[in-house]
């Protein structure tokens, strides 16, 4: 098992009354698997992902449970060890491609940053790898993009750049925290396809977090449904979408806009 989360709870202690945002979450991710986490805003899905990525290092936060990456507990391991894993073994793409790139650095520099931190490659080698990666994420003119600044790119291009920089060290797990929410529908489909291709080619396990159920339905084999920081239901994607057991899941699934009306219109014609 690549990643095992056992009984993870996260509490905020920045107010007088501690607030539990995630409680008792268990999940498993094996190599090359795509796991979807769905739920409404505030259901704790992003918090779970951030905790796995090792992003929640605030003092006023209490985390209990275990996050085992290849047997190593990420919650208790020293920061140096965690940094070795971050970017190299576990990468993250965020929701907002507009803000997740540094506005004053060139794209090439930013994509190569992970390599600069984790490897001893020289400048020319890094540049070659970056260009190769930019091509892999299907950017039209990698040489040109290499020398551009984030503000010169469109949202979809930026998200591709983010994927390139997340994937450059060939991580074993890619955490995609609502990677398509800020993009329009056609670009969404492209990005999802790109993720699928990466998953197939590189055997990267993807933890796909989204509130877009139709996307999750097409992309993920396994799905976890979360509400109020707890897992409501989990299982195979088909099972959950076709035969939901819990009321909440049923409610969510029924909220997927279908093509029923369109079909009826077609029949009429």
């Amino acid at each position: 098992m690549l990643l095992e989360v056992k009984n993870l709870s996260i509490e905020f202690h920045d107010h007088l009354i501690p607030e539990t945002v995630v409680s008792g979450v268990n999940l498993e991710l094996s190599e090359g698997q795509i796991l979807g986490i769905v739920g409404e805003s505030g259901s704790g899905k992003s918090m779970t992902a951030h905790a796995i990525a090792g992003l929640l290092s605030r003092h006023d936060m209490k985390k209990t449970g275990e996050i085992l990456f290849e047997g190593q507990d990420l919650l208790t391991c020293p920061r140096a060890k965690l940094r070795e894993i971050q970017g190299n073994e576990i990468s993250v793409i965020f929701q907002e491609p507009m803000t997740s790139l540094n506005p004053v650095k060139k794209i090439g520099w930013q994509v190569g940053e992970t390599l600069r931190i984790h490897t001893q490659l020289d400048k020319a080698q890094i540049k070659a790898r970056v260009l190769e990666m930019l091509e892999k994420v299907e950017l039209d003119d990698p040489e040109k993009v290499y020398n551009q600044y984030p503000h010169e790119l469109s949202g979809g291009m930026r998200q591709r750049v983010m994927i390139a920089s997340a994937m450059i060290c060939k991580p074993k797990i890619l955490i995609a925290d609502e990677p398509t929410t800020a993009l329009d529908v056609t670009i969404q489909a492209q990005i999802v396809k790109l993720l699928q291709r990466i998953n197939r080619k590189e055997k990267t396990a993807i933890l796909f977090i989204s509130h877009d159920l139709s996307l999750v339905k097409t992309l993920c084999e396994q799905v976890i449904v979360m509400q109020h920081g707890r897992i409501v239901e989990s299982g195979l994607s088909e099972e959950i979408f076709n035969h939901p057991r819990e009321d909440y899941t049923r409610l969510l699934v029924s909220a997927i806009p279908g093509c029923e009306r369109g079909k009826r219109m077609q029949e009429k014609l």
Binding site: R83, I90, V92, E113, S165
Partner: protein, 277 residues
Amino acid sequence: MKQIIEKIRGLRKKKQNTMFITGCVITGVILLLTLIGFIHTPYEPDQMDAANKLAGISWQHLMGCDNFGRDIFSRVLKGCGTTLVVAGGTVLIGTVFGILIGAFTGYFGGLLDEVLMRIMDALFAFPSLLLALVFVSLFGKGKYHVIIALGIAFIPSFSRIVRSEYMRCRDLDYVKSASLAGASHLRIMFVHILPNIRTVLVSSVMIGFNNAVLAEAGLTYLGIGVQPPDASLGEMLSSAQTYLFSAPWYAFGTGLMIILMILGFSLMAEGMKKHTA
């Protein structure tokens, strides 16, 4: 080729920014005069001449002569250098320590932030002139002591500006991405965040420079700054005060220089702010 064209375009954009250009011109002239002052002055700045005591403005003495018959223009050239060195040194100390303290407190927060910022508050509560006064009276007079004293007095304001910028930046997504790429705290602080706050830094350095020029002039005016016969604009202005009515050109020449220096840097800072806004 493309890059050259883009650079020219950028310059043209800057040219529309008249404030910045005027500031640059004035500062350039001052720097040029200072440079000339280091190499050559029309008269020996310390050379006294009893016959020309408080002589008026003439072709021989462009800004007249002071109470010892020394050529004011020559002394102004020399004094600009001293003032610039003192102001530059002050700003350098203030910025370097300000950035360090501001970066650590703003980025990490917590106890470190509380302790360091309370110390900065204490420093801030002191008027900077008073602090410098205390320092100079403890360690003695002289140019370098003035630099250190003013530099320390300038640290709190810089560190506050830098701290607030770091607090703003530390929760942004690109900082998170950097930390997720496995970058160390130091790398995030100085490679990822610092370039992002450079515009704020540059304009506050400019303003700091102005304040330093004024503070140096003020300290020397009080008699604890740069010591005679070393010429400095503040020192000259303070002795000019005595002859304000009998020889107004003395104060005029030196005062004009201070005003121009401040004006140049202020315009540059303002222009830069406008350019980035």
